[in-house]
Symmetry: C2
Subunit: 159 residues, 2 copies
DNA sequence: ACATCACATGTTATGATATAACGTTCGAGG
DNA sequence: CCTCGAACGTTATATCATAACATGTGATGT
């Protein structure tokens, strides 16, 4: 699987591997990988894009896995909490993590036209931020980086 | 004014200077610094913290400047669009920019306990992100960085 | 076996954030 | 003094998220 996400790749392998990895990790950490949680992760992997919670809920509802908001929010809380899924703050949307298992600082490239999202990685305190925080005594626990711009396809169309 | 925001500082000067600077810039760029827009910026400067739109709206309403959501959202759109105010995505909140006029990549340090927010700056492509984007042809137009953790006061209390 | 406890789920209701749409006002420039 | 665009007032509604409480279910200790 590519690391940046705007290229083609073998998609069914992505899904199968990611699900297997999640399953294994849940087993190892004694987490319950319940049907709803598994299906939400699968949906996000299948679609391979950022999705709103209610959009996911529609699919679950059509499959009889629950029709009320808490169903999907609970699954997402679990998946986000354990790093299987990331929340894209700018979009109120969710996307499957493409670096499962690795401890990383996710960075997102979000196309403002087609809304495609690619996950990259960045370093934790590459510049002034970590230093500035340290100087004032702020303890950083988590960082999210979200970049907006144009994906290759949209940049070409717009040009 | 300090750059990181968790120290004491002369607050009335902050406000007066920031308002004057905004006024001047609007004049220079032929933007309309209307009463509602000015008041929203003032409120954010006075409170010197991240505020929700409806929280700001309550103050506007009490002062007779409008009582419906579009009033505050329009003012915020203008202020955010021209860089006078930043939106904190993680919190659905807004805060006055502490580096007005400078072209910068804002980075926020958000205390998860007391919700205080400090604005720092970071570099545009300190690490792998800019490089990775460039390699795939993604054109970055804007970046936001939001870090969650503990501010000095809360870190001490919790310890 | 069975009590019990933690955790997950089902369901109803509501809270919180944000925008669409449409008519009116007001000031700058022709 | 007309016209045009930007801002504003207002109503309604869309979108995102969680509180609260009842119910089910599986692991564990006895």
């Amino acid at each position: 699987m590519d690391s940046i996400g705007f290229q083609q790749h073998d998609h069914s392998h992505c899904i199968a591997e990611a699900i297997a990895a999640a399953e294994e990790r849940c087993k190892a950490e004694k987490l319950q990988f319940t049907p709803a949680r598994r299906r939400v992760l699968e949906i996000l992997l299948e679609q391979h894009r950022a999705m709103g919670a209610y959009e996911i809920l529609e699919i679950l509802a059509a499959e009889g896995l629950g029709s009320q908001p808490p169903v999907v929010y609970r699954a997402l809380d679990f998946l986000v909490g354990h790093g299987f899924v990331h929340r894209i703050e700018r979009m109120n949307a969710y996307t499957a993590c493409t670096h499962p298992g690795e401890d990383h600082v996710p960075a997102f490239l979000i196309c403002r036209l087609c809304k495609a999202v690619a996950e990259a990685e960045t370093v934790l305190d590459g510049g002034r931020l970590g230093k500035a925080a340290h100087e004032t005594g702020f303890v950083i626990e988590k960082i999210v980086v979200e970049a907006e711009g144009l994906c290759p396809a949209c940049a070409e169309t717009a040009a």
